[in-house]
C-alpha cells in the first residue's frame, strides 16, 4: 500500500436494497378510499390478474435514504473533484439550472395540455431553437433528439429523406477512423453502409483518401470537428466543399462544440447538419449516464425534413407559439417534444452566460487545455505536439515500453489522488491514449494539482510499477473482475431462498 493518497470517497460495498427487505415494512402505500368499491383484480382481469404483486423489496423510508446515501458516497461527480474526461465536457452544472427545471411551471406539465396553456414552455423551446441556431450558425433546429447518438441518427434520416426527395438513393456514409463509435452505429441504424477512411499522421482528415472515397453513392461524410484528438481541422473548408461536390451532405458531430463556442460556427464551415450535446456544451448534468439531449441544427435546404414537432412563432402581434411539423418531416424520432427538462437547464445556462459569456467559456476551455498540455508535455508524450483545442491526447506508450505500466494503470492510480481519470484508449489511432479535457470551470489550482498528480505518477511508474499495476488502493472497491462479470452475467438480484422474498 503506497503512502500517498487523498481519499475523497471511501465507503465499502453495501448489500442491495433487496437484501434489506423484511416482510411487512412499508414506505409508499395508498389506503383504499372507503367511499369507493374495492377493485378485485381477478374478477376484473381474469387470467390477466397477477397472482401476487412483483416481489419488490419491503423497506422503510429511512432505510431507503441511508441506502442511497451510502451509494452516493461511493460515487465520483464533478462536485467531488476534477473530471477531465476527453470528449465528455464535464463542466460544472449550475444549480440555478437545476432549480429552474424543478419549477412547477416546467416540471408539472402534461404533454397533452392545450398549446395556449404552455406558452412559456413553448417560448423557452423556441428561444432555445433560435439561440442554438445562432450559436451554431444554422437557420433551423429540432430539439427532439434525446442524446448525441440520437441526433446523429436523426440527421442521417433527414439526409436520407432529402436524397430520396430528389429521387437519389445513396447507400454509403464516410467516416474517419477517429470517429466516435456512435457514428458508425448510427449509420448502420439509418440503413447506410459505413466506409471508413484513414486519418493523416496528424490525426486529420486525409483529403486524398476522402476524395477517393467520395462518389455519387455517398450520402454523407461525418466528422467531429474539432476532432477526437483535439485538433481543429485546418482543411475544413476544402473538406466540406469536396463533400458537396459529389452531392453529399457534411455532418458535424458536435461533441466538441465547447472548443469553438462563440468563436467559430459549424454552419459557417460548410456543414449541412450538426448535433449539439446539451449535456456537454450547455452544462446540463450527465446524471450518471443520462438524460441528456442532442438537438440537431440544419441548413435551410434540409429544414423541411426535420422531425416534428417543432416550435413555431405563429403570430408576432399575439406573441404566441405553437407546435407544428415541417412539410416533408421525417416524422418523430421519440415520444412528445424531447427531453424538455434538459432544455430548461440549457436555456437557463445560456441566459446566465449570454453571448459574451459563452465565448469566454469556449476560449477559457481552450486556454486551460493548452496550459495543462504544456504542464505535462515533458513527462508525457503528447500524441500531437501542437496547439490543441479544448482537449489533447497523451500516449502512455513510453511507460508501457519502459516499465510495463499501461494507461489503465495510470488512470487507476489517478483515482488514489482524488481525480477522475481522463478518457482512456480512445481515440483508437493513438497507442495507450489518454484524452484529457479539463473544461473552463476548473480552477487553476485544480489544474495544477491534476498535473502534479500525473507528474508524480510518472515518477511512480519508474520507481514502483507493481504499485501502479495494483492501483487504485483507496477506493470503495478496487479493480473489478470484468472477465468474470462477462463470462457468467449476474444482471439481476436473486433471492437467496425462494420463500424468504418470494420467487419469480
Amino acid at each position: 500500500m503506497p503512502e500517498q493518497n487523498t481519499v475523497t470517497i471511501n465507503r465499502g460495498p453495501r448489500e442491495t436494497i433487496y437484501d434489506l427487505s423484511d416482510a411487512g415494512k412499508r414506505c409508499l402505500y395508498v389506503d383504499a378510499d372507503p367511499a369507493l368499491p374495492a377493485v378485485d383484480p381477478v374478477a376484473r382481469f381474469g387470467q390477466y390478474a397477477a397472482a401476487e404483486p412483483p416481489a419488490l423489496p419491503q423497506v422503510n423510508e429511512v432505510e431507503i435514504m441511508r441506502h442511497y446515501a451510502h451509494l452516493a458516497s461511493m460515487n465520483f461527480g464533478v462536485d467531488v473533484g476534477m473530471y477531465p474526461l476527453g470528449s465528455c465536457t464535464m463542466k460544472y452544472n449550475p444549480r440555478s439550472c437545476e432549480d429552474a427545471a424543478r419549477l412547477a411551471g416546467f416540471a408539472e406539465l402534461h404533454p397533452a395540455q392545450p398549446a395556449q396553456s404552455v406558452q412559456g414552455a413553448l417560448r423557452l423551446m423556441h428561444e432555445l431553437q433560435t439561440d442554438l441556431g445562432e450559436i451554431a450558425g444554422f437557420p433551423a433546429v429540432s430539439l427532439q433528439p434525446a442524446a448525441g447518438a440520437h441526433g446523429e441518427y436523426t440527421a442521417l434520416m433527414v439526409f436520407r429523406a432529402a436524397h430520396a426527395a430528389r429521387g437519389n438513393v445513396r447507400r454509403k456514409v464516410i467516416l474517419p477512423d477517429t470517429a466516435h463509435g456512435t457514428n458508425p452505429a448510427s449509420v448502420a441504424m439509418a440503413g447506410y453502409e459505413v466506409v471508413q477512411i484513414a486519418s493523416t499522421p496528424e490525426g486529420l482528415v486525409d483529403l486524398d483518401a476522402l476524395r477517393a472515397a467520395l462518389d455519387q453513392d455517398t450520402a454523407a461524410f461525418m466528422l467531429t470537428n474539432p476532432n477526437t484528438v483535439g485538433i481543429f481541422d485546418p482543411n475544413i473548408l476544402e473538406i466540406t466543399a469536396a463533400v458537396h461536390a459529389v452531392g453529399a451532405y457534411a455532418y458535424c458531430d458536435g461533441a466538441n462544440l465547447n472548443a469553438i463556442l462563440g468563436v467559430v460556427r459549424p454552419g459557417d464551415l460548410g456543414f449541412d447538419a450538426l448535433h449539439i450535446n446539451l449535456h456537454k456544451t450547455f452544462a446540463t448534468p450527465h446524471g450518471g449516464g443520462g438524460p441528456g439531449a442532442g438537438p440537431i441544427c440544419v441548413t435551410a435546404e434540409l429544414s423541411p425534413y426535420l422531425p416534428g414537432p417543432l416550435v413555431q412563432h405563429v403570430d408576432s402581434a399575439e406573441d404566441s407559439y405553437q407546435l407544428s411539423y415541417p412539410e416533408q418531416s421525417i416524422g418523430r424520432v421519440r415520444s412528445f417534444y424531447g427531453n424538455f427538462g434538459v432544455m430548461v437547464r440549457a436555456w437557463t445556462y445560456i441566459r446566465a452566460l449570454g453571448g459574451q459569456g459563452l465565448r469566454d467559456a469556449g476560449q477559457q476551455a481552450v486556454l486551460s487545455a493548452n496550459y495543462l498540455r504544456c504542464r505535462l508535455q515533458d513527462a508525457y508524450r503528447v500524441a500531437y505536439d501542437r496547439i490543441c483545442m479544448h482537449e489533447f491526447v497523451l500516449s502512455g506508450s513510453p511507460f508501457a515500453k519502459a516499465y510495463g505500466v499501461h494507461t489503465l494503470d495510470i488512470a487507476k492510480r489517478l483515482l488514489d489522488y482524488g481525480f477522475h481519470p481522463p478518457t482512456i484508449y480512445f481515440p483508437l489511432i493513438v497507442d495507450e491514449a489518454m484524452m484529457i479535457e479539463p473544461t473552463e470551470t476548473e480552477p487553476m489550482d485544480a489544474l495544477d494539482a491534476f498535473a502534479d498528480a500525473l507528474l508524480a505518477i510518472a515518477d511512480e511508474a519508474a520507481r514502483d510499477p507493481e504499485m501502479l499495476h495494483n492501483a487504485p488502493w483507496t477506493t470503495p472497491v478496487r479493480r473489478l473482475d470484468e472477465a468474470a462479470a462477462a463470462r457468467t452475467p449476474d444482471l439481476c438480484w436473486q433471492a437467496p431462498t425462494a420463500d424468504a422474498h418470494g420467487s419469480r
Binding site: 484508449y425 470484468e482 472477465a483 462477462a486 463470462r487
Partner: protein, 125 residues
Amino acid sequence: MAYPNDRKYSSDHEWLLVEGDEATVGITDFAQDQLGAVVYVDLPAQGDSFSAGDAIGEVESVKSVSEIYLPVSGEVIAVNEALTDNPGTINEDAYDEGWIVRIRLNDPSEVDALLDAAGYEASLG
C-alpha cells in the same frame, strides 16, 4: 509463446490440425494473448458450410470482439460446446482443450497454402 509443429497456421491467427480430410480449428497462443481473457465464443452450428476466408464465429474479450476466420473451405462437423460455459479454456489451452470447431475439408489441398509454425512465428515479426 508456443506454436506446435504438428499443425498449420493462417495469418489471421487460426491454427488447423489436419487429420485426413478433417481438421480441428482454433486460435493461436498469440491471438489469445492479444485478446486477453476470453469471455464469450460465438460458435457456428454443426452442418454449416463455409468458404475459405469466411467468418465462422467470434471470440470476445471484455473490451474487444474478433472474428474467427476459416482459412479453408469446409463443413462444420463438430463444435466445442464446452467453450460456452468455459470460454477461458481458450486462454488456458489454446491448442488442445481450447479447440473451436472440427471441419470436413472440401479440398484438403487448400491446406498447403497455409503457414507452418516457423512461417507463422516469422509473420508475427
